[in-house]
Amino acid sequence: MYESCTGSSSYRRPNEPLYLPANISSILLDESWWLSLSKLVLVLKPYCIMLDILQSNKARLHEVLGGFGYFVEFWKKYYEPELREKMLNRLQSRWHNWEQPLLLLSWLLHPDYQMKKFKENIPNLNHVYLSKWLIFYYEAWSNIKSQSILREYEKFRKKQYPFDENTINQFNEDILGFWVWVTPTAKELGYVAQHIFGICVNAASVERLWSCMGSLQTKRRNRLDVSNYKHVLFL
């Protein structure tokens, strides 16, 4: 079937064997085509898996940073130096424009990560320096001077109740649920954590809403009041 077609370009008779066009056959017979295809599979597979994770409506900010980490690790191990360098540079240029403290705090405030998966001895990457950003975000978001956030963070860092492993495990990876629960005892840290883990990294959670809106707002019915839309949507 992969053999090139030597016949004329006239119409095929019904009893003639089926041949692929010459140009396609030559591609398929080429070894390098299959090789590049397998390379593509290799490169795209982690991206597909990561996108699958990040497209979920439960995806949170710490998973985005996780994605960056996994890609960096993947490309660092990649065998082709040229592509490896290019992809790492591209990752770095993307990462450079991002609000990095926000992403780093999403790991710092995640009981499973904290500082565990950050390299040691990196300038400005320790819990003391990142605490500065905790204070910054608390004051920026609440417009109130922080009073106790460092004390609360220290308790979290030392895994004292309610930040101990047994308590956290009861929430089964529901990081936002945990921080909502713990906020009465860690008012300021909880406030920042809820903001960070409350960030939706994709539009999955509202896609369903848009779909519903689409079926409500039609050509024949396009003069519904906003409040009526709300009532119908939340029926």
């Binding site: 690790e73 390299k119 990196i122």
Partner: protein
């Protein structure tokens, strides 16, 4: 008989008048004490020993005094009212001050935010993506080592 009746009635009237005078004198005494005026007390103590005419004069004086005292009490009432208003104004001012203080606090924070470069642009808040993660970060996907070493 009629004379006797007349005399009795007269006696009654005299008694009545005396009673009224007594009542007035007691009232006169009671009045000045509340004012706490020593001079008046003296006059009244003198007045007690003198005849009714003096008492009556005293009474008139005291009535005037009472009116004055009423005026004074009204003035003090006004003073009290005014001081209350003053207090209210002061409280209002304090509340304003507090709110302005809060504004200052907010302003301070706003200034802090204004003075602070946004984290997305701050060069101090930038790290090299290739440096920050530990080696052998657990990956959520399976990477076939054979595939990686395809070359």
């Amino acid at each position: 008989m009629s004379k006797l009746h007349a005399s009795i009635t007269h006696q009654h009237r005299v008694n009545e008048v005396e009673d009224i005078h007594k009542q007035q004198s007691t009232e006169n005494i009671a009045g000045p004490i509340t004012v706490n005026d020593n001079n008046l007390d003296l006059e009244i103590s003198e007045g007690n020993s003198t005849d009714i005419q003096v008492l009556n004069n005293n009474n008139e004086d005291n009535l005037e005094e009472e009116e004055e005292t009423n005026d004074v009490s009204q003035v003090s009432d006004w003073n009290r009212l005014i001081s209350e208003w003053e207090n209210l104004l002061l409280q209002e001012e304090e509340a304003d001050l507090l709110s302005t203080n809060n504004d200052d606090g907010e302003l301070e924070i706003n200034e802090l935010l204004f003075n602070q470069t946004h984290p997305a642009l701050d060069n101090v808040a930038k790290w090299q993506i290739t440096d920050i993660f530990v080696e052998n970060l657990e990956v959520p996907f399976f990477i076939d080592e054979n595939d990686v070493n395809i070359a």
